[in-house]
């Protein structure tokens, strides 16, 4: 008999995890944010080219008339449809699923906390994220630095204007890797994850904001004080670990449809799997979603970091290889 039946998280860690869940629910109860649930098994999938949805099969009659369903990779689309339906401020704690994401800090099935605040922009939401995580991580406050400043500081390059070729040269100076790519964002992500993130560890908790406009995903695009187009997007890093991703949400249905199309094109060009896009999200935005900011946070990672652990299996009772 192997030891694979046994939980990898200690009872002490599971207690801490449950305590963090209780703190989160208390936090949102006090602030009048409604706890909701949206489907885990959906008819459409996320469009992000580098998030691969796990497909599953639904049979209206057992064994017959198979229909494709997709395990959600984030509750974003469903929650936005609730916002457009008039839900007001909402939060959700749910499982999310992603193909291929297994490692020390990844589990293909993980727990996400996601919330939306009508009337907030991303800067106000950063303050609220800070208010939630500071007591859990036992920190005073979070630093705030723009994506541009970060690249200027650590790599002496302007991430908004540098060409793919320039970024490739820079990446190869720091990273030994066999890669050819004309997509600037792939080089930026590589430099961010391999060079900058490890250095952020010494800064404690850091909000990075004003991402390149090409990395807006579902965030609005605005112009910064230098006249540079930037995404109204932020991420929170703690101990060099990516912990949360937030947007001042795109509410323009036509722009949303255009970005879906762009993702489909990129998937086609790179030979990535094609999945049905969520036209119901586009319909919801066209019907009118309130101006709002939203953020998604990895709860396994939050718990891991609160416990000063370095591997997610310390806080997931039965991780993927034992699931």
């Amino acid at each position: 008999m192997t030891e694979l039946w046994r939980a990898t998280a200690s009872r002490e860690n599971l207690l801490k995890r449950a305590d963090i869940y209780a703190q989160i629910r208390q936090f949102f109860t006090v602030r009048d944010v409604l706890e909701v649930e949206t489907p885990l098994m959906t008819s459409a999938a996320v469009s992000d080219p580098y998030i691969d949805t796990i497909a599953c099969r639904y049979h209206p009659i057992p064994g017959q008339q198979e229909e494709a369903r997709y395990l959600q990779s984030s509750p974003e689309y469903g929650m936005k449809r609730l916002l457009a339906s008039g839900s007001g401020a909402i939060y959700q704690i749910c499982k999310a699923f992603r193909n291929g994401e297994a490692g020390r800090r990844h589990n293909p099935e993980f727990t996400m906390l996601e919330w939306y605040r009508p009337g907030f922009d991303h800067l106000q939401l950063m303050d609220e994220v800070e208010a939630l995580v500071a007591p859990i991580l036992n920190i005073e406050s979070c630093h705030r630095v723009s994506y541009g400043e970060l690249f200027q500081h650590y790599l002496n390059i302007n991430p908004h204007t540098a060409s793919a070729a320039e970024l490739a040269v820079l990446a190869r100076q720091h990273i030994e890797l066999d890669m050819e790519d004309e997509n600037r964002d792939n080089w930026l992500n590589l430099l961010m994850s391999h060079v900058i993130e490890p250095k952020l560890a010494e800064r404690g908790a850091v909000f990075v904001f004003d991402y390149p406009a090409t990395q807006a995903a579902l965030a609005k695009v605005a112009t910064d004080s230098d006249g540079q187009a930037v995404a109204c997007r932020f991420e929170l890093f703690y101990a060099g670990v990516e912990l949360a991703n937030g947007y001042f949400e795109l509410t323009d249905g036509e722009e949303q449809a255009r970005r879906f199309h762009q993702d489909i094109e990129q998937r086609r060009a790179e030979g990535l799997p094609q999945r049905p896009v969520d036209n119901l999200l586009v319909d919801a935005l066209n019907a009118g979603m309130p101006e709002c900011a939203g953020v998604a946070m990895g709860l396994d990672r939050l718990t891991m970091l609160a416990l000063n652990s370095i591997q997610i299996s310390d806080v997931i009772a039965l991780p993927f290889d034992r699931a």
């Binding site: 580098y50 490692g103 990844h106 890797l177 792939n186 590589l190 994850s193 995903a217 990516e242 991703n245």
Partner: protein, 211 residues
């Protein structure tokens, strides 16, 4: 894909027939990487010391590996794209008995098959400081040739030369150099005499106790 041909001589009715056996090394995809996996990189066998899956929420997936070159001993970081595959290395760790050195090569024997291999000074590295005939060592073979030797964690070696011991000084601090039968020079307590057997930790090169 790495293909090695081994020539094996098979005896049938008095004749020796050469038979070519094809040894095909497996390829490993980035998702199969794990600590201890031996692969070929730029012609050298390397071992994975630490494997980390790196993927920003919205970005591409990579596997960042701390590698050790098993020939040069150099460690460094190498990043692989998701799905990138590499060729496995025919590297094997074997327990072998140290026989002798002819001044140029160090000879080892597999105690089960009695097969002998000879390691050159590059493969031996600092291990020669701790070798004593008949001690068991870990011999790392690449395509059948030794590329590194790991002596036992603890060895017992005789002192061949040291300053005379100080009588009565058995507990107080203070140390002096002593040359051991293998040629290594270690710091030992003042009371140690020539001819004594000492227990040495080969990982640190430090004196542990009298043997």
């Amino acid at each position: 894909m790495c293909v090695n041909f081994a020539v094996v001589l098979i005896s049938t009715s008095g004749y020796l027939l050469p038979i070519y056996i094809e040894i095909v090394m497996a390829n490993y995809s980035s998702n199969q990487f794990k600590n201890g996996l031996k692969i070929m990189l730029d012609g050298d066998p390397c071992s994975m010391v630490d494997v980390e899956f790196v993927k920003p929420g919205k970005g591409q997936a990579f596997t960042r590996v701390k590698m050790k070159n098993l020939i040069s001993g150099r460690t460094w970081e190498r990043t692989f794209k998701s799905g990138e595959s590499v060729e496995g290395a025919d590297v094997m760790d074997t327990d072998m008995e140290y026989l002798y050195s002819d001044g140029e090569m160090w000879h080892f024997m597999d105690p089960n098959s009695y097969e002998q291999v000879a390691a050159d000074s590059t493969a031996i590295g600092d291990a020669h400081l701790w070798l004593k005939e008949q001690d068991k060592c870990l011999v790392t073979l690449f395509n059948g040739n030794p590329i590194s030797i790991t002596p036992p964690n603890f060895v017992e070696l005789k002192v061949t030369e040291t300053d005379p011991g100080l009588k009565g000084d058995t507990a107080q601090g203070g140390s002096k150099p002593a040359t051991l039968q293998s040629g290594a020079v270690v710091r030992v307590p003042l009371f140690i005499e020539e001819g004594e057997m000492l227990k040495i930790d080969t990982r640190t090169g430090e004196y542990v106790s009298r043997a």
